[in-house]
């Protein structure tokens, strides 16, 4: 094969991949561009024409007048708490399931696996009724509790990783007199940082983006999270205030993107490993 045709093929490949990459980021760019336009410009110019002069008025409006600042704060606190809970409690349970021998272990493990396959929608009605009985509708506790203690997915993910850590390390520590807690904190967790980070990221993204549970369990601005806030904006104002809706969407999208770009090397590698370990 001549070097010329190799060069042509390589250029074609790059071209296609670059087009795909552009397609991947285009919606973000369009959102940001639209959010920076003045209302009149947004309606009169094509979507891809850059906003000029760019204005931050839409952002200040959604932030101040439409309550986005408090929605974002609610979302952030919920996502942080759920993520911490998921990582801590999944790691504890995973250690027991991966490394300890006790009656009922295999039954429990299969129980975790089985519940992993249950679709979310199925549990919503009873979950809502339970929360109503407990008086937790429209509270932070109602938003957070269902996933605070970890999910079967989280337990499973960490367990699979724990099982790859050599037993000799644990045995040596036992001989030195270390107890279960010391082994977990001093040996297992430090060796599991990548998988715990993966779990944290996946949990954070899922909680941040979750719509349906907050939609059902909250009904006031006191607890409203950003997904619900935005879909309400969309429902009420999309025809008359598209610039506000777009600024809200940008505000919801950008923080996660920032987190992603900050940790991208780690995230991309760990996601690729997640399912196949």
């Amino acid at each position: 094969m001549s070097s010329l045709s190799t060069a042509v093929r390589r250029t074609t490949l790059y071209g296609i991949l670059a087009a795909g990459a552009l397609l991947s980021v285009a919606p973000y760019l369009l959102t940001l561009n639209g959010a920076l336009k003045r209302p009149a410009d947004l309606l009169s110019t094509d979507a891809w024409i850059p906003a000029h002069p760019a204005t931050f008025a839409n952002f200040t409006a959604v932030w101040n007048q439409y309550g986005m600042s408090s929605f974002l704060l609610h979302t952030l606190s919920v996502a942080v708490l759920v993520t911490i809970g998921q990582v801590v409690f999944s790691a504890l349970a995973a250690y027991a399931l991966a490394r300890m021998e006790f009656p009922g272990r295999d039954w429990l493990f299969w129980g975790y696996l089985a519940t992993m396959m249950v679709p979310q929608m199925i549990t919503l009605v009873p979950l809502f009724l339970m929360m109503r009985e407990l008086g937790l509708v429209d509270t932070y506790a109602g938003l957070i509790l269902p996933t605070l203690f970890g999910t079967p997915y989280g337990v499973f993910l960490v367990r699979q990783h724990f099982r790859t850590i050599p037993h000799d390390l644990e045995a040596a520590a036992r001989i030195d007199g270390a107890n279960t807690w010391t082994i977990l904190v001093r040996i297992m967790l430090p060796l599991s940082r990548p998988i715990l980070a993966t779990l944290a990221i996946i949990t954070f993204v899922n909680t941040w983006n979750n719509l349906i549970w907050p939609l059902i369990i909250t009904n006031s601005d006191r607890t409203r999270v950003i997904t619900v806030g935005i879909s309400a904006l969309q429902g009420e104002h999309v025809s008359d205030l598209p610039h506000i809706v777009l600024a809200g969407a940008a505000l919801a999208l950008l923080p996660l993107i920032a987190v992603f770009l900050l940790f991208q090397r780690h995230i991309v590698r760990s996601i690729a490993l997640t399912g196949l370990k």
């Binding site: 790059y14 696996l113 997904t227 991309v268």
Partner: protein, 327 residues
């Protein structure tokens, strides 16, 4: 059951034998757990498991039992539930809206999964080369995965707007007069599917790429010596060895697709003319807008049964053709 599939076992000379050393713990630790030690270890284990187990029982197991029970009742969330036996299930059988929602869901899955899987595979093959700049591209391709479906739904609705939307403006450059995408019964569902394909192709690509990179180079070298062409290499080596990864992405993506909700909720609300009314959206409406709790629970059981069936079929199909490492 899904995640623990390791590709290593299929490789000749792979290190499968020492990959899962935890199968039976070595005797050094077993000896310590006799008599009182054993009771203590059991107590410790349950102590570690307690929070997670409590959460699982309360927020997953109890609701699953609950939905089965509620599906035999007629209840509008107020007043006293009335036991109606199988009436909800009988009504469901004759409810044309339910079957339309089921058809819509299956249609969505069929639009979404094959296209997304093939695209992701092509992308992964292209990415699996040692070329400059691919790492940056990889990051860009994964970016859609993080997108909040609600926010993106708004942006997509704007992009597919017949007059102001970027899609039709783009088509107009080529003299094509684009349709009113989201108010067309024929186009609305393909648009929703494309949104999902856009969002998850890069993410799926990552898993397939990981699978590709686990295939030993020596196999390809041996194939080269035997004079195998590109096509043969793909069908004889790459595809068979990629099966575990394929299995994983197909099963998890299919389960996910059956539960699509956010995009429908924001972009079409089931319309136009019920053409995007999926099972999940239909259940939501019955339960939380019409307050037909019992009926919605029966529908949830139907959706669950269908998902289980489809997953089981995929499992059987792949099981015949792949050696797994279930641990």
């Amino acid at each position: 059951m899904i995640d623990n599939i390791s590709p290593t076992k299929t490789f000749p000379g792979g290190d499968g034998s020492r990959r899962h050393p935890a199968e039976s713990p070595p005797s050094s630790t077993a000896g310590h757990r006799r008599g009182r030690g054993r009771i203590r270890a059991t107590l410790e284990a349950y102590l570690l498991l307690a929070p997670s187990l409590a959460g699982l029982l309360m927020f997953l197991v109890a609701p699953i039992v609950g939905v089965v029970v509620i599906s035999f009742f007629d209840w509008n969330l107020m007043g006293t539930p009335r036991f109606v036996g199988l009436a909800n299930y009988r009504e469901m059988m004759g409810d044309s809206e339910v079957w339309r929602a089921m058809r819509n869901t299956v249609y969505y899955v069929l639009l979404n999964i094959p296209a997304q899987t093939v695209l992701a595979l092509l992308l992964a093959l292209a990415m699996n080369r040692k070329l400059r700049g691919l790492k940056v591209l990889r990051v860009l391709f994964v970016l859609p995965w993080m997108a909040m479906p609600v926010a993106l739904g708004i942006v997509w609705s704007w992009a597919f707007d017949p007059q102001r939307g970027v899609v039709n403006q783009f088509l107009a450059l080529f003299g094509v007069d684009g349709p009113a995408w989201l108010s067309s019964t024929g186009w609305a569902m393909p648009v929703l599917a494309s949104v999902n394909i856009w969002q998850y192709t890069g993410y799926t690509m990552l898993f397939l790429l990981a699978g590709l990179q686990a295939i030993p180079e020596s196999l390809y070298e041996a194939a080269d010596l035997d004079g195998a062409g590109t096509v043969q290499r793909f069908f004889r080596i790459t595809l068979p060895l990629l099966r575990p990864s394929m299995f994983f992405v197909l099963v998890t993506n299919t389960i996910g697709s059956f539960q699509m909700f956010d995009t429908v909720y924001v972009m079409t609300q089931g319309g136009p003319g019920g053409s995007t009314d999926t099972m999940n959206y239909h259940i939501y409406q019955q339960a939380f807008q019409l307050f037909r709790t019992g009926y919605a629970s029966a529908l949830a059981m139907l959706l669950f049964a269908v998902i289980l069936l489809v997953t089981a079929v995929q499992l059987l199909y792949f099981r015949k053709r792949t050696i797994y490492d279930f641990s």
